[in-house]
């Protein structure tokens, strides 16, 4: 029908307007990697400043800006988008779908995230980045001079809207778009854990939205929620932030858990042990994730009853997490473990994450938390779970799915060098920080005094960080040097178990020429060993309906981007810019809603040609 139309556009235009989940996934990965390098660079600068006592490499104000931007960038602009990239690319393939439920919204979500991230980072160039920590506690944040915090508020608001949209999209995709035969309890674990993470997004982000709205109204329009003299209360912000913030850390870790649940069975040649227990544990973690947020607030004075309840609820999360750890170990038990780079990352995760997890339980001990809180012990805890969990997961997922996404395998030799350097650097950096915290080093300090016994361990920590940086550069290099390891087979690892390994490489834009029929968990493995090795089709070959691309997502996001400047510079008389920006956004939404777009069809012969291999 209108296939020709979709082809005649330039490549750039194609990427800007694409609604293909695979391209959007790749864009998330590229943008996320960029922000990871940026956040890492910020970490390196902080670590240089902390290398020696009373070092004057950076002014204290700059240090505070770096630490705020490091945390914010890593969480919102690096870890989450990188996970979203993998989720976008892989989930539809794992459930045998041609696309996500809302291709247009999917693209909108990406552009909102990107514009939000850019907005946040513009603050560096216009009078200083936000400086109140990624948690932006009021009244430090509400009264912070300059525009840094305004950029924080609006940047996160815009990118947060993108995340929420993305979450809803994944939920509906997973519920409505599964191939025939794929019941919920046959879904691959990565899809399952992304599903639960999306539920967390759905319920956690609104709390952040309101928190940020209040902070914006307080700063820009002189509201008084956090102004004690006007009857306000500063703890409200902390609740809103952590009602979002604690689920957020499980939003990060659950998809990573999902990745390990794919990588480990593949490279152990063994079905995931305790599939239903794994699913159940994921759900429990998701639920408990909402009931424990105040463990970040043990010292703000809620009282012993509240502290005790939240302490016990927090400890409970160790149980379902432990279930998962032991099920992974038992998956490995009796398998034939291959030490590919992807699997090395997955295997290194187990001990690293357990170390971070158990310090979490120590932190949850409310009476002892009074000692741990806001010290480097906390910094050590969360880098152990985040790097030992999320980042190792991202690297495992990257190595595992790289051939599927980019059509070539990353070099295994460089991969292993990268792996070992990164792992050693990581433990070197953060292991000593436990002790730094316990012997009296608070977190978020721009420096520390000589003669307090903190020097040696800080130096070790910085050296570790440099190792991680070298490792990361090796990884980036290997991306470029490995491009000749082209992959053409459908299942390059030979042991693929799930539907993403049943389709040609590179992935056709419609994913599946025919929707597959799923007959068991690990659909491909089942066909390999119980069937003839090929998926059964659930439908006859026919024209495939595809959605058209659209530039409107960028326009909508751009409108909000422009409007944000209007709010940030409200006091300088730029309120009109907010009006202009919102008009662009709502105008584009209006156009979208009145213009019906029914997509186009890829004709059968096109598909058969492609099936024969190009």
């Amino acid at each position: 029908m209108s296939y020709a139309k979709a082809q005649s556009k330039s490549t750039l235009w194609d990427w800007l307007t694409t609604v293909d989940h695979k391209k959007i996934g790749i864009m998330y990965l590229v943008a996320g990697a960029f922000f990871f390098a940026l956040g890492g660079l910020e970490a390196i600068l902080m670590r240089i400043q902390l290398m020696f006592p009373e070092f004057t490499f950076l002014p204290a104000q700059t240090f505070n800006e770096l630490l705020t931007m490091h945390g914010t960038t890593m969480i919102f602009l690096a870890a989450m988008p990188l996970l979203f990239g993998l989720m976008n690319y892989i989930i539809p393939l794992q459930i045998g779908a041609r696309d996500v439920a809302f291709p247009f919204l999917n693209s909108l979500g990406f552009w909102l995230f990107l514009f939000g991230g850019i907005l946040l980072n513009i603050s560096w160039f216009v009078g200083g980045a936000p400086d109140a920590g990624w948690t932006a506690y009021v009244p430090l944040s509400s009264e912070s001079p300059g525009t840094g915090i305004d950029y924080y508020v609006l940047g996160l608001q815009v990118s947060g809207a993108g995340t929420l949209i993305g979450g809803i999209n994944f939920l509906v995709t997973i519920i409505n778009m599964r191939a025939p035969g794929m019941s919920m309890m046959r879904m691959p674990l990565f899809t399952w854990s992304s599903f639960v993470a999306s539920i967390l997004i759905l319920f956690a982000f609104p709390a952040l939205t309101i928190g940020l709205l209040l902070l914006m109204l307080e700063r820009v329009f002189d509201a008084t929620y956090f102004n004690v003299g006007m009857g306000g209360n500063v703890i409200i912000w902390q609740h809103l932030f952590w009602i979002f913030g604690h689920p957020e850390v499980y939003i990060l870790i659950l998809p990573a858990f999902g990745i390990f649940s794919e990588v480990i069975p593949t490279f152990a040649k063994k079905r995931l042990f305790g599939y239903s227990a794994m699913v159940f544990a994921t759900l429990i973690i998701g639920f408990l994730g909402f009931m424990v947020w105040a463990h970040h607030m043990f010292t703000v004075g809620m009282g012993p009853v509240a502290n005790s309840i939240f302490a016990v609820a927090t400890m409970a999360i160790a149980v379902p997490t432990g279930i998962k750890i032991f099920n992974w170990l038992l998956t490995l038990w009796g398998g034939r473990i291959r030490f590919t780079t992807a699997n090395l990352f997955a295997l290194a995760f187990i001990p690293s994450f357990v170390m971070g997890g158990v310090t979490g339980v120590m932190l949850a001990t409310s009476a002892a938390n009074y000692q741990f809180h806001d010290t480097y012990f906390v910094v050590a805890h969360f880098h152990y779970v985040i790097i030992g969990g999320v980042v190792l997961g991202l690297f495992a997922g990257a190595y595992y799915w790289w051939p599927r996404i980019f059509g070539y395998k990353l070099d295994e030799k460089l991969g292993k060098i990268f792996f070992w350097l990164f792992l050693i650097g990581f433990h070197l950096t953060f292991f000593v920080q436990h002790f730094l915290g316990l012997i009296g080093m608070p977190r978020r300090v721009a420096s520390y005094l000589d003669g307090q016994g903190l020097n040696a361990m800080n130096l070790i920590s910085t050296i570790g960080a440099f190792l991680m940086a070298v490792a990361f550069i090796i990884f980036v290099v290997s991306i470029f040097t490995s491009r000749n390891n082209k992959v053409t087979e459908e299942d390059p690892w030979g042991d693929g178990r799930t539907l993403e390994w049943t389709i040609p490489t590179p992935t056709p834009e419609y994913n599946f020429a025919q929707t597959p029929l799923v007959r068991d968990v690990d659909a491909l493995w089942y066909e390999k060993y119980e069937g003839d090795g090929k998926m059964k089709a659930a439908e006859p070959l026919g024209d495939i309906h595809m959605p058209n691309g659209s530039i409107l997502p960028i326009v909508i996001s751009l409108g909000l981007f422009i409007a944000s400047f209007g709010f940030i510079y409200h006091h300088a008389g730029f309120t009109w810019l907010a009006v202009v920006g919102l008009a662009i956004t709502f105008g584009a939404m209006f156009v979208r809603s009145i213009k019906e777009d029914h997509g186009y069809h890829i004709p059968v012969d096109e598909i058969t040609n492609n099936k024969g291999g190009e």
Partner: protein
């Protein structure tokens, strides 16, 4: 013997830290509150070490026994799961957590026991960007930066803040509580041993957050009473000591400084700076600088260079004579000898 168990895991760290000197470490508790917390830390640590050992042992076993070897050609059995095992690894962690949770809840309540009785002493702790003020309501005293307390007395602290959130932490005596604007948070500490205990602000409160240190100085109850009485009296009048330079210094002080800094109840203002009645006995200057004339002078000339964002006015152009006199005067501000 009784203390041996707690030293085991951290001996090398303690050596590294040389913590006896600093009284800065949570691992070297010096009072009942930090003891409680330390014992919980150790209890949780032992449980966690147990967990880690179990996981590591299985892990290493698995990695050694089930690595793929070239001679392997079999397809591993595709096991679905095991009910009994699931029950085991659900129950054991629950038991371990109960062992930790029960004492924790009890101690959480112990630490929250802050209703003052007649035997206790109350100190109101006001945190400011970036300094500390200690008010003793029973004595009508305000002290800056260094909190004197009598040993073996339960001290109820009432924490407050005047600008942003700060947090009061004296690791060797007690874990932290936040100083929150608009809210009073109580906590208690007790120091059986005389000594100087390092304190730190642990909530990000601005650029000079890392320098917002303070000291808790535990002295025997008699010394404390002397100190308290003299804080009300004020230091000896410099005119009586025949120290001409100090008298000159006082004049400078009364002209430039007294609007913000009170001495013996005179001067100062709610938005001002620390009470300097006993400044001559400070262990450090401005919370963290080595206590010497060069540092004091440099700080007075350019406070922003030292604690960026603090509220003190700078005196870059004060003549050297005036400065010398002023510092001489500041040294005479002593109440304990």
């Amino acid at each position: 013997m009784k203390h041996l168990w707690r030293l085991l895991p951290f001996t090398f760290i303690l050596l590294l830290a040389g913590c006896g000197k600093q009284n800065l470490s949570a691992l070297d508790p010096q009072g009942p509150v930090s003891e409680i917390q330390f014992s919980l830390i150790m209890l949780s640590l032992y449980i966690m070490i147990f967990v880690i050992v179990v996981v590591f042992v299985i892990y290493v076993l698995v990695l050694i026994r089930f690595r793929d070897r070239p001679e392997h050609t079999h397809i591993p059995k595709q096991v679905h799961g095991n009910k009994a095992l699931e029950v085991i690894w659900t129950t054991i962690p629950i038991v371990l957590l109960l062992i930790l949770a029960v004492p924790n809840v009890m101690q959480t309540f112990t630490l929250a026991d802050t209703e003052p009785t007649d035997a206790d002493m109350v100190v109101r702790v006001h945190a400011h960007q970036f300094w500390w003020e200690f008010e003793y309501p029973d004595y009508d005293i305000v002290a800056g930066q260094e909190m004197y307390i009598p040993t073996n007395t339960k001290i109820i602290l009432e924490l407050e803040a005047s600008d942003v959130i700060h947090s009061f932490w004296v690791p060797a005596l007690a874990g932290k509580q936040d100083n929150v604007p608009g809210i009073m948070n109580p906590m208690w500490i007790e120091a059986p041993n005389e000594g100087v205990y390092m304190g730190k602000c642990t909530e990000l409160c601005g650029p000079a957050h890392w320098q917002m240190d303070f000291k808790v100085i535990a002295v025997d109850p008699d010394t404390f009473e002397t100190w308290a009485a003299n804080m009300v009296e004020g230091p000896q009048d410099v005119a009586d000591t025949g120290n001409e330079l100090a008298v000159e210094g006082r004049a400078v002080f009364e002209q430039s400084c007294i609007s913000c800094h009170a001495v013996a109840g005179e001067g100062g203002n709610p938005q001002g700076g620390p009470d300097l009645t006993n400044f001559g006995e400070r262990i450090v200057a401005a919370g963290y600088l080595e206590f010497n004339d060069d540092n004091i002078e440099a700080f007075i000339r350019d406070p922003q260079r030292y604690k960026p964002g603090n509220a003190m006015q700078a005196f870059p152009n004060m003549s050297q004579d005036e400065m010398d006199a002023l510092i001489e005067y500041l040294h005479t501000l002593k109440v304990l000898e």
